[in-house]
């Protein structure tokens, strides 16, 4: 199929299957999946600027589907998502400026690669340690379907640190009844800002940082973190799509075709979260940042983009 905006010839079946796989991952883990979508589009000969912008547009659509499904399951905290969107957009702008500074210094590729490898490996190592420790606890875990109120009975071996963070009384304090969390607004904005910073700095939606941060720093139950992250991604990825589109980096037709596969994948991923407890979702999340790290290491070693 010919896509006149980017001038690319790509099989719609390839786009649909790629979208489907990313949709399942996104619906289950609350991530954008750009670490797979970017290289997958690039492999079909699309320029990097189009791969990044088009991927963002496709993320918007996929997140709408997955967030709607999660909302039906009671897994979206709208108030938290809206607050986080503000911090994410601010962070993304600062991240993009950092990239521009590094570009001028002439070492953007090396610095971004090393930072991303360090971040990906740290997240995976920490999540393996925490989720395994939590699963080893002898406290009773929710059984059967895990949604709504049951999802809030999440456990974490890192909970003592999360409680200390929640005790910081820095005005204004925000109550989030859906997530069952009371916390300073500034901490929410800081978490969102850091997520946005990595999004602007490393590309993609940075769900691999935001979702774990929501669980470990804010104390949001895993199911709600996944659903709320997806809702937040709709806003921040829409902003990213708009800015990329005015720079001529979005082929919306490719995004629309990819999304036809992602729509069904995202539903399957979102429904599947009902059958797993929080620590199990977090443990299953571990390979995602490792895949990201492997792609970056491969790029560094060979000098080729995947």
């Amino acid at each position: 199929m010919f896509f006149p905006i980017s001038g690319a010839h790509i099989s719609p079946m390839y786009l649909m299957v790629t979208g489907f796989l990313i949709g399942v991952l996104g619906g289950f883990f609350g991530v954008g999946g750009s670490f797979i979508a970017g290289p997958a589009l690039r492999a079909m000969g699309l320029d990097w600027n189009f791969a990044v912008g088009t991927d963002l547009a496709h993320i918007v659509g996929k997140s709408v589907v997955a967030a709607k499904r999660h909302r039906a399951l009671g897994n979206v905290d709208l108030r938290l998502g809206l607050i986080m969107a503000l911090g994410t957009i601010g962070g993304a702008e600062v991240g993009a400026q950092l990239i521009q500074m590094l570009k001028r210094a002439g070492n953007v590729n090396l610095v971004v690669s090393i930072v991303s490898i360090a971040v990906y490996l740290s997240i995976s190592t920490f999540m393996i340690w925490e989720s395994r420790k939590t699963l080893a606890l002898r406290k009773p875990m929710p059984r059967g379907l895990v949604k709504g109120a049951t999802a809030k009975q999440d456990q974490s071996a890192f909970m003592h640190v999360t409680r200390d963070i929640q005790r910081l009384k820095i005005w204004p304090i925000i109550k989030l009844p859906t997530s069952g969390v009371t916390i300073s607004l500034w901490i929410i904005l800081l978490v969102a800002f850091v997520g946005g910073l990595f999004s602007g700095f490393l590309g993609g939606g940075a769900g691999y940082i935001r979702m774990p941060s929501m669980v470990y720093v804010l104390g949001v139950p895993t199911h709600l973190a996944v659903g709320t992250d997806l809702f937040e991604i709709i806003i921040s990825a829409s902003y990213g799509t708009f800015t990329h589109a005015i720079k001529g980096n979005v082929d919306i037709l490719i995004a629309l075709v990819m999304h036809t596969g992602a729509a069904i994948g995202a539903q399957i991923g979102a429904i599947s979260t009902q059958y797993f407890t929080g620590p199990k979702i977090r443990l299953a999340f571990v390979p995602l940042p490792l895949i990201g790290a492997a792609i970056v290491i491969y790029t560094l070693m060979t000098g080729h983009k995947v």
């Binding site: 918007v60 589907v65 829409s238």
Partner: protein, 80 residues
């Protein structure tokens, strides 16, 4: 348990076939004709194109979500 799994898998396979047919029709009826118009918009009115792009992807997401939900309900009942 095995009977239940087989039932779910059969429903899912039917859902995929119906969904694939709808998507192929959508490719030929909508996306094929949208291509040139969107290309012209992207070349001439970049800001309008950016807004239309977001509306299109969100609109498609809402429609496809409704279609897949409807298919799920029809094939598996309201237990999902």
């Amino acid at each position: 348990m095995k009977k239940e799994t087989a039932k779910t898998l059969r429903a899912f396979a039917i859902e995929l076939v119906v969904y694939a047919a709808l998507v192929v029709a959508y490719f030929f009826l909508v996306l094929h004709f949208l291509g040139e118009g969107l290309h012209q918009l992207e070349v001439r009115h970049r800001y309008t194109y950016a807004g239309v792009a977001i509306l299109l992807i969100i609109g498609q997401a809402v429609v496809l979500e409704s279609v897949t939900t409807l298919l799920l309900r029809m094939l598996r009942g309201r237990s999902e």
